[in-house]
Amino acid sequence: MSDKYRYRPEIQQMMFVSGETNDPPPETTAVIEDIVRSQVVEMLLQATAQAAKRGSRSIAVEDLIFMIRHDRAKVNRLRTYLSWKDVRKNAKDQEGGAVEGADLLEDVAGAAAAAPATSGPVDPVGPKMKYRKSKVKLPWDLINMFPETVPDADDEDGGAGPDEDELEANLATLQRLKSADERTRAMTKEEYVHWSECRQASFTFRKGKRFRDWAGISVLTDSKPNDDIIDILGFLTFEIVAVLTEEAIKVKEAEDEMEMRRSKRTKTRKTERFLFDPPDEDQRPVLAKHVTEAFRNLQRAKPRQMVLRNFSGGLVRTRTAVI
């Protein structure tokens, strides 16, 4: 593995979008890049194993989604993303013009905020076009276990409402959007443009080949994964960086709070804070140790792994979890 880190600007942009306002030092981005690469490798390995269980040699979209099936929010976001990819492809063909990816991504956010439970088509591009959003079918969903295809429950009103998991997933998405909203509320136009550009940052968008080299895909799998897989990986890597940043910020704040409490306890009075002091935030970017601690927190053995042994212990074989 080369020591040269290639994705620093992308990672910086992603961190900016996820809540980190300061410039992260190079070690932080290096650690995040290493973590992301190991996660990509792990995902591909597990997906290949999954495909082999199916009897197929190539990775399918469902294999990757299977890895993250426990996180409903992410699954929903991913499905929305994939469906909008279809829309964009159709739009390109039909309109004959380049539709900016940025608009679509923001509209994804807007659409998700406006209509959390529905997947009804919303027309961002033009009222004339009618699209069919193709939802990726998840084979493990309850609804797909019957030989008869049940009509989409989301279109009915008065049907069984969204279940608890669904609500929770929507809640998580909404929360993220809310925090983004609060951040951008006070921005000027230029700032917002900058923000939206950063929001587009992706590991794989238009850089498929570079991504494949970086992740070493040719070494990992026999078959060449198609573009859908690469896109999904790009989405998931964005999610990884976002989650890592959020957790690292929490870790950093907890540490700072403990530091303050300790200094308060020992009663060493620092100089009082005045009005024109430079902001303190600048001196406290997220450090590499926060990121490693955040990663460790995310890798903790989930309760479901311990339940299998009736909480009594025994050697719990841990597997590197996909964030």
Binding site: R261, T292, E293, R296, R300, M306, F311, G313, G314, L315, V316
Partner: protein, 412 residues
């Protein structure tokens, strides 16, 4: 006439007695044997002393003031050889019988019954002589060559015993005398050590394996460029690196590097280690320790910021105060009607005064060794698997048989 008759009768009676005696002896050799052995038994005490006395008297006469010196041993070997020849094929059986008798497997009656089958009259005498002679020898000094009487153990189908004095080579003779100096059991054991003895033991003992694992192994260096002294020096140095339990802090990169190098050399990795190996190991160590501490704290401390804050894991050190705080909050929330317990006014006042203090206590919550023992009992898999220090921790906990928690004044 009468006298003649009597004398005649007496002689024939004497003859008949003798005949009878012989007939008796032929028919049932028990009595003479018995008599013989009886006399032997009775005489056993007397004969050795007699035997000892007889030569000792000679010596005693020569040196009356000196104490009784034990006599020389009786040469028993020619006796045995003659006896053996006479017995012929019965020698094995005779040997078995005598051995069993001497070791207590046969009683006197059984011995006589057995021997009556084998021995006849002439041999009785030889048998007596043999046994008495060996008994006499037993009370004297042991023979100069303590290998016993090898001819005794020879079976009749073995080759006749040859006294081998033909090895002229002094080394071989010395070796032979040394090896024959071992008991037969020793020699058998030595012969049983072959090339792969001990390699695939039935069940390797834990103690032996532990000892082997703990002993320092030095690798066999074949190439000339790595000097063996350098490697052994590294290994001995690694054993002198400070231990973490002594310095009470995590090892730093340098001491860790010396230790890793020593261990690598011991196990045969003669090329050394790369530069960033200690860093990675240190990172992994920190990760593992943090994991363990997190699991420990989760089980022992109440979680303040998570959803499950109402499940109180109580630290044993502050158990009583926290229980009181818990009941006070519960009372406040639910009202006395629900819980059914009506606290007396002063109790409530006293209890309400506590929460402020317990707040401070919660911040100062100190984890003790009891907490750690409890957490490890609940989840020993947090340190992969229990090992020596964990057993020690559990063993040194002092806890009542009846109740584990300290006595709390409030019963829920």
């Amino acid at each position: 006439m009468l006298a003649q008759a009597t004398s005649r009768t007496s002689t024939p009676s004497a003859v008949s007695h003798a005949v009878n005696g012989s007939a008796v002896s032929r028919a049932s050799p028990h009595p003479p044997k018995k008599a013989a052995s009886a006399t032997n038994m009775s005489g056993m005490q007397s004969t050795p002393s007699g035997g000892a006395a007889a030569p000792s008297t000679t010596t005693a006469t020569s040196t009356p003031s000196k104490p009784q010196r034990p006599a020389r041993r009786i040469e028993i070997e020619p006796l045995m050889n003659d006896f053996r020849r006479t017995l012929g094929t019965h020698w094995d059986q005779y040997r078995e019988v005598i051995t069993s008798f001497l070791t207590g497997h046969l009683t006197r009656i059984e011995l006589e019954r057995e021997l009556s089958v084998i021995l006849d009259k002439s041999m009785v005498r030889m048998h007596n002589q043999f046994l008495l002679a060996s008994l006499a020898n037993a009370l004297r000094d042991p023979p100069p060559s303590s290998n016993g009487l090898p001819a005794w153990n020879r079976r009749s189908r073995d080759a006749p015993f040859r006294v081998s004095k033909k090895s002229g080579d002094p080394v071989v003779a010395r070796l032979k005398s040394e090896i024959m100096g071992f008991t037969p059991r020793e020699r058998r054991r030595i012969k049983a050590i072959t090339r792969d003895a001990g390699k695939n033991g039935p069940i390797p003992s834990t103690v032996v394996l532990t000892r082997q694992a703990r002993s320092v192994r030095f690798p066999s260096v074949k190439e000339k460029e790595k000097s063996k002294t350098n490697i052994t020096q590294e290994i001995t140095q690694s054993y002198q690196a400070p231990l973490a339990t002594e310095s009470f802090e995590l090892p730093d990169t340098d001491s860790l590097r010396t230790r890793i190098l020593g261990i690598a050399y011991e196990h045969g990795l003669l090329d050394g280690i790369a530069n960033d190996v200690p860093d990675i190991i240190l990172a992994g160590l920190e990760y593992h320790l943090r994991d363990f501490l997190q699991q420990l704290l989760d089980r022992v401390r109440p979680k303040k910021h998570k959803k499950l804050a109402d499940t109180h894991f109580v630290s044993l050190a502050n158990a009583s105060t926290q229980l009181i705080a818990q009941t006070s909050t519960k009372e406040g929330v639910n009202g006395t009607g629900e819980t059914g317990i009506k606290p007396s006014p002063d109790f409530e006042k006293g209890v309400k005064a506590k929460p402020q203090r317990t707040q401070q206590y919660e911040d100062d919550n100190i984890i003790t060794a009891e907490d750690m023992a409890l957490a490890l009992e609940l989840a020993p898999h947090s340190i992969v698997e229990p090992s020596g220090p964990l057993y020690r921790l559990w063993d040194v906990m002092l806890c009542d048989e009846i109740d584990d928690l300290p006595v709390s004044t409030v019963q829920q």
